[in-house]
Symmetry: C2
């Protein structure tokens, strides 16, 4: 019997945020690929695009006109997944046909009036303005009586279902706590009740000692490839202090967050020298009026690419039916990301 | 207050197999799409392709030669995600760094020696041969001492990460019960303990009464769009009898399964008159040597397309961070699938 080597032997790792195992197959990284490749999109975008419904002063799909905004701009999504209407619904009990109406608000946040930019290409101060707006939106939406959860996220790149290159993100605020957040909350709670501490405080403290998976660190935040990451270059930004949500951020912390987002997304762009696609989003305490001492602010980055700008990881078949699976190990990805420059390749 | 209408109002539905809610947004189906479109691949394939490593008599990537097989053929995957090796591993306890070696076997199953076919284009008797092989493989692999779960699945189409159009599926057999199967099993168990019956028996009985989401039915199986389906045209084939796994299938039942698979996948191809991509796979009792009276055989089909051959549903951003979300309702999809012919468009 040879002894186990996590760089060579297939194994499973445990994700304590979702209480779930994932499969890691380090030996599989060099299988040949004859499957689908993605288009590399490298057009040079104009600063203002007449046909873009997010640009300053342009007309949107529903006929409304955007103001001549500078910097950030937020508006209600014209094709939201949620509606504000409060509808009559007789409560019903069923094992197999349980259904409940869901109220909510979908918003779009333009990060900049400059159509050609992306987060890594923006100045830290301008990303700070985005964080300011996230904070205000979380507070404003969270204060609405029927809104119990505010999901802030960004889909970047066509590969991630983004239909407009104008730098923007979204907010889906709703009355229920969504499934994955509810699971995270349960695990946060169990840990807090057991130890009196936040799960992520203890986790990042240990990561900071090991230094195997830390990509970036500043005064207030760390960026880490979680031990249980499933996407090839998945990362998580975690606040060092146990902050429950954006409202509790100081001005300095908002600047620190902007700065680590810039550095992390710059590394991403430098990886394959392309505008790196991902879905990213913030997990923070629900706005349900309860106390949430168990919560710890963090931001997930889920990028789909695997080998190069053209080949992504397909989460299909086995992954959809059985369990998430990854090829290169989190430690290998962390090493690669750690060594990348925080100077954007386009500015070199 | 207007009263709730599930054809118009956003709502959440409960999935009793995974104990999880999903978000349904019926009003969102007609938002405009300017995002990524998929390539329509309509090449005419040869019956035998010299460069295909799955065709009869050809050389594989690792230098081995396929036999001159007729019909089905199974072999160990040359680039598996699992390895058979039994490695030494000191048990460890950690809140954040839990890891366990995983043993297993990956196999590839060619459905036919004819490179140009897909399941819907095969004769029922030939699909029956595939079911026979699934049965034999489940039994053979399940009998191996360290194999406790056998996942049979198919990724069809480039969009689903399939890198070779030769009709084939895969088997990943392993020592652990994968995350999603473990969750399904837990919910099966709870229901069985409460009622003494199988969750899916009771569910399909009610679906057969309602007839709102049933697509196909024969002596032994039904194909239904689950009330809680997340993919636009997601379906599930369920055995009418509570069968725990493939070993318990009679010859007639194997033929019935082959026949409903042919009809369902034919409807899929007819939907957009194209070879319809999907991931499909069988959920059945683990091979861990325990009794599993709670288990009920079923097969999931997860197809990614939404509007047409070019536009898929992106499970990104909100879906990755918060909760699965769908636009058209399961009832609308069921209506569309129900009305499609079971005669393949290519043969008309
Ligand atoms: O084994 P294949 O067909 O090369 O690979 C495909 O199916 C596997 C199992 O669902 C996935 O892990 C891969 O991401 C996918 O590309
Ligand atoms: O709202 P958008 O950007 O049009 O749409 C995109 O993000 C949404 C939220 O993650 C997803 O539901 C859609 O599938 C995706 O295409």
């Amino acid at each position: 019997k040879s002894s186990f080597d996590h760089k060579k032997n297939p194994h499973r790792r445990y994700n304590p945020l979702l209480d779930e195992w994932i499969l890691v197959s380090p030996q599989r990284a060099n299988r040949p690929w004859q499957g689908q490749t993605e288009k590399r999109i490298e057009e040079k975008l104009p600063i203002h695009d007449e046909s873009c419904y997010l640009c300053s002063g342009n007309i949107r799909v529903n006929g409304e006109k955007n103001p001549n905004y500078k910097g950030t701009y937020v508006f209600d999504n014209d094709f939201g997944s949620l509606m504000k209407d409060d509808v009559e619904f007789p409560p019903q009990k069923s094992d197999f046909f349980s259904l409940q109406p869901e109220r909510g608000i979908n918003r779009v946040i333009c990060f900049s009036d400059n159509h050609s930019l992306t987060l890594p290409e923006m100045e830290v101060e301008d990303i700070k303005n985005v964080v300011d707006l996230w904070q205000k939106q979380y507070e404003e939406l969270g204060n609405i009586d029927y809104i119990n959860h505010v999901q802030i996220f960004e889909n970047k790149g066509q590969m991630m279902g983004c239909s407009n290159p104008h730098p923007h993100g979204q907010i889906w605020a709703q009355s229920s706590i969504p499934s994955l957040v509810a699971r995270t909350q349960e695990n946060f709670k169990a840990y807090f009740e057991k130890t009196g501490k936040s799960l992520l405080s203890d986790y990042i403290q240990q990561e900071l000692e090991k230094r195997e998976r830390i990509i970036l660190e500043n005064e207030d935040f760390v960026a880490v490839v979680p031990f249980w990451a499933v996407w090839p270059y998945e990362t998580m930004i975690v606040s060092k202090r146990k902050i429950e949500n954006l409202i509790q951020f100081s001005e300095t912390e908002k600047l620190s967050l902007a700065s680590i987002i810039k550095d992390l997304t710059t590394k991403y762009d430098n990886l394959f020298e392309m505008s790196f696609p991902y879905s990213a989003g913030i997990h923070q305490s629900p706005t349900d009026g309860e106390l949430h001492p168990e919560w710890h602010f963090h931001m997930h980055f889920y990028p789909p690419l695997l080998r190069n700008a053209e080949v992504k990881k397909f989460m299909v078949g086995y992954e959809m039916l059985a369990e998430a699976q990854r090829d290169i190990t989190p430690e290998q990805s962390a090493e690669i990301l750690k060594n990348l420059s925080t100077v954007h390749y386009k500015t070199k």
